[in-house]
Amino acid sequence: MPAADGKGLLRLATAGSVDDGKSTLIGRLLYDAKLLHEDALDALHRNGGGAAPDLASVTDGLRAEREQGITIDVAYRYFTTPRRSFIIADTPGHERYTRNMVTGASTAHLAVILIDARHGIIEQSRRHAALSALLGIDHLVAAVNKMDLVAWDEPRFRAIEEEFAVLAAQIGVGAARAFPISALHGDNVVERGPADWYDGPALLTFLEEVDVATDRGGGPLRLPVQWVIRPDDAARGARRYAGQLAGGTLRPGDEVVVLPAGSRTTVTAVETHDGPLASAMPPDSVAVGIEHDLDVGRGDLLVGVDRQPGVGRRIEATVCWMAARPLRAGDKLALKHTTRTLRVTVDGFEALLDIATLTDGPAPAALALNDIARVRLRTAVPLVADPYDDNRTTGAFILVDEQTNDTVGAGMVRSISEAAPGEERSPGVVWHKSGLEREDRWRALRTRGATVWLTGLPASGKSTIAALLERKLVDAGHPAYFLDGDNLRHGLSGDLGFSPADRRENIRRVGHVARLMADAGTVAIVSLVSPFAADRELARELHDAAGLPFVEVYVDTPPEVCEQRDPKGLYVKARAGEIPDFTGVSAPYEPPPHPDLVIHGAAEPAERSAERLVAALKESEPA
C-alpha cells in the first residue's frame, strides 16, 4: 500500500520547450508509476489513434489546448509512490509564458528541465534553469530526453551533463544533476534503461530519495499573523494569534518581537486545534498566545529577538511583470506581502535582467509583459521583509492592479531600507530656499544654532539639566529653546504611543524640529529618553547632513537612583504593569557608545552639569 511518510511531499516544477517531450515524461512518470488510472488511459488511447499510448495528451487539460496541441497554463499533477508524494507544477515552455514558469517555480523545491538530446542545451533551457534559480530553487535536474534518437551516445550525454553543471554554477544553484532518458520508451524514468555506461539511478528513484529540506526550522523565527482567534466566551480559551510559520522554530517561552511596532513579549502557548505543541516549524499553521496585552493583528510579523528582518519604505526587488500593459515609474499598485497589503509606488528601474544569464542589462524605461527587472519601490508605510535569498516567504510579494484587481506582478525583495536622513521624501515638493544664507542670518543676529540632545533613563535628571542650560544661555543673550519630550507628546507627537516604532517616529519628528530651530540660530535643547542608539543616530545624521552641530549628552544615572527619584510616579505604575514598554522596567535602554558628553546624574549637581554643557557648546563652535 502506498505510504508517503519518510521524505514527505516533493513539489517539483517541470519546464521544457514544446518538442522536448515534457508532457510525455510526466505521462510516463504517472503511467509507469502504475498510477495512471485506466479510464484516463482509455481516453489517451483514443486520442493517440495508434497502438502506442499518446502520453502527452494526459497532461493537456483544457479543450483549447488539445485542439491546438499546446499547453496554455500551469497545470498541477499528483502522484504517490510507496516512498513519497509528489506535486508536479507543469509549466509550458514557450518564451512568452515566463509568467507561468515563475508561477510554477514559486512553490517548487526542485525543477526538472527537459533537454532534447539531439539539440543539447538551448537558449530556452538556460532560461528555464535561470528562472528556477531566480525563484530560489536549489535543486536542478536536467532530463536529457530522446536518448534513443541519438543511439544512447555516451559522449553526447556527457557533453550536455558537463554544460549543465557549468550553467548551474553560473546561476548559483547548489545541486544539479543530469539523467539520460527516453520518456517515450520509459528508459531511466522509472526503470533503468539500456545504456550500460549509465550507472546512476532512474529519474524517479532519484526524485524519491533527494533531500530538499532546506530550512526545517533552522533560520530565524518568522510568523506572519494571519487571523486573531477570539473565542466567544472566556471558557473556550484565550485570544490566539494564528498563522503559518515562515521560518525558524517557535516554542513556548520564546521571547519575540512584534513588527512593525517593535513591542517585545513572551510566547505563552503554541498550539493547534488538536492541543498544545512543544515546538512548531514551517510549514505548520499554529495559534500562539503571548504574555502581554498588546495590539497585535493581521499583517504583524512575530520574529525572534536576534536576526530581525528589514523594516523600511524603500524596497529594491526583482519583479516579474505579468500584465499586458507596461509598468512605468510613478505607477501605484497594491503590494501583498505575507498577510499584509500596502500601497506602493514604482520609483524607477535599475536594470532589466537577461533571463538566460541572470545578469543586469541597461535600465529599461518601462517593463513589458514577461520582463524581469530590478525595480525600486517605495511603500506608503514601512514594509517588514527579508531578502528573498534568505526567506522565500517573507521575501516574496505580488503586485495587484487596484483598478482591475488582477495580479500583475511577482516580486522578490533584494534589499530594504528606510529613507536616508534628510533625504527628500516627497517627489514633486522642492525645498524652498529663503534666499538668506545661514551664515548671513547667524552673523546678523549674532547667534549660532546647535542641538543638544540629552538621552537617559526616565527620571535620570535630563529635564532639570536642560532647563538650567536653557536659562543660562538665554541669560547670556543667546537664543535657546527647551524641547521637552513629555511636552512634545501633548502636541506634535500626540498621536504616538511608546512602541519602538512610535518612539522612532517621535525622534524623527523631534530631530527635524530641532534641526529647523538650530538652522534658525537657536540652541535646541532636546530632553528625550530616546532609548535606541539607531534612532539617536538618525537624529545626528540629520544634523550632520545639514552641517549643524549636534551634541549628544548621556545622562548616566543608575537605574535604582532613577527609580527612587520617580518624581511623576511612573516607575511605580510601570512596576504595577500599568505602563507597558516603560524604559528601564519593561523596555530596553541602549546607552550611547560614543556620547559627546557623559553626565553622572547621581554624582554631579545639575548646576555643574549645565555649566559643563555651556562649555561644550562653545567648543563645538568654529574658532
Binding site: 500500500m1 508524494s85 487571523w227 482567534i229 501583498k336 505580488i398
Partner: protein, 301 residues
C-alpha cells in the same frame, strides 16, 4: 503516532487558505454536500478557527435526490459543530421557474445535477456571498488541474480558464468587485488517497454509504444504480454488497461492488484501483471528455 509529513503539510496549507479567505473577504460560505471532501473541509475549518466559531455559514445545494443517509448526516454534523446551515433547494428553483427540470425517472442517468448551478448562483447572489469554499481537488479531472486555489468568477458566476490570475507562493489575491465572487478550493493539492488517509487519521465520521452495505441496485450502461423513488430500474434489480466512492444524487451516483466495511479495507481498495473516482461512479462526467470543463465555465462547483 505523528501524522505523515505530507498530510501535515497539506493540512497546514488548507488552514492557511481558510484563514486568508476569512480575513480578506467579507461574506464567505462553505459549500457542504455531506460527501467526504466537504467533511474534510469542515474539519479543516474547525482547525483554522477553533475554538472560535466559523466566521461563515455552511450551505448545501439540495437537489431533493440525495441519499437519505447523507441528509441525516449533514443535519447532525452541522448541529454538533454548532454552526449555521443554509439549504438552497433545486426543487424551489424549478418551482419558481428559474430552472427547468432535466431529470426523468424513466431514463436512468438523467438528473438535476446541472441545475445545481442555477440554485448555487442564485443563493450566492441572494445572500451576497463573495467567497464559496468547495471541496474540489485538482487530481479529480483534467480541467480542475489548471484551476487556481482562488478561482475567480465574474458576475455571471462564470470561470474563464484563460483569464486566471497567476497564483504564486502562498499569496492569494482575493480582491473582487461587487457582484463577483471567488470559489476557493483548500483541497486543491490533495489526492483522493490523501482525503481517505486524513479521514482515517482524524477519525472523521462519514455517511454510512461510504462503507460496504447490502443494497438493491440495478445495472445500467455498466454502472450500478441504487433502487430509489427517483429512478425506474432499466434492468432487474438485485441485492449486493456495495459502497460509494462519491456522494451525489441517487439518480446518477453509481455504487462499486465492495466488501470494504472499514477504513483500512476502503483505503486498500482505493490504493489498488485503476479508475478515477469520477469516471467510475459519476454518470455526469462520462457524457463527454470536456463535460467538466463546460460545466465549470458555466459556474458549476
Amino acid at each position: 503516532m505523528s501524522p505523515p509529513d505530507h498530510l501535515r503539510a497539506l493540512e497546514s496549507e488548507a488552514i492557511h487558505i481558510f484563514r486568508e479567505v476569512a480575513a480578506e473577504l467579507e461574506r464567505p460560505v462553505l459549500l457542504f454536500s455531506g460527501g467526504k471532501d466537504s467533511i474534510v473541509l469542515l474539519r479543516l475549518a474547525e482547525k483554522a478557527f477553533g475554538p472560535g466559531h466559523f466566521p461563515f455559514p455552511v450551505m448545501h445545494v439540495d437537489t431533493g435526490h440525495n441519499f437519505p443517509e447523507v441528509i441525516e448526516f449533514r443535519d447532525r454534523r452541522v448541529r454538533e459543530l454548532g454552526e449555521k446551515l443554509i439549504v438552497a433547494s433545486v426543487e424551489e428553483s424549478i418551482k419558481s421557474g428559474r430552472a427547468r427540470e432535466e431529470w426523468d425517472p424513466a431514463r436512468p442517468g438523467t438528473s438535476r445535477n446541472r441545475l445545481q448551478t442555477v440554485t448555487l448562483l442564485d443563493a450566492i447572489d441572494g445572500h451576497g456571498f463573495d467567497a464559496a469554499f468547495g471541496g474540489a481537488r485538482r487530481d479529480e479531472e483534467r480541467a480542475r488541474a489548471k484551476e487556481r486555489v482562488f478561482s475567480f468568477r465574474d458576475d455571471f458566476g462564470q470561470w474563464d480558464p484563460r483569464q486566471q490570475r497567476p497564483e504564486l507562493w502562498n499569496l492569494y489575491n482575493g480582491r473582487i468587485r461587487r457582484g463577483e465572487h471567488v470559489r476557493v478550493f483548500p483541497l486543491s493539492n490533495w489526492t483522493e488517497l490523501d482525503v481517505w488517509r486524513y479521514i482515517e487519521q482524524e477519525a472523521l465520521e462519514l455517511p454510512s454509504i461510504y462503507f460496504a452495505h447490502e443494497r438493491d441496485v440495478f445495472d445500467h450502461d455498466g454502472m450500478l444504480y441504487a433502487v430509489s423513488d427517483w429512478v425506474n430500474p432499466s434492468s432487474d434489480p438485485f441485492s449486493t454488497s456495495v459502497r460509494y466512492r462519491t456522494v451525489g444524487d441517487m439518480t446518477i451516483t453509481g455504487a462499486v461492488r465492495s466488501r470494504a466495511a472499514d477504513f483500512a479495507t476502503v483505503i486498500a481498495e482505493i490504493a489498488a484501483t485503476r479508475i478515477t473516482e469520477r469516471g467510475e461512479t459519476r454518470a455526469d462526467d462520462r457524457t463527454s471528455e470536456a463535460a467538466m470543463e463546460d460545466r465549470k465555465r458555466q459556474g458549476y462547483f
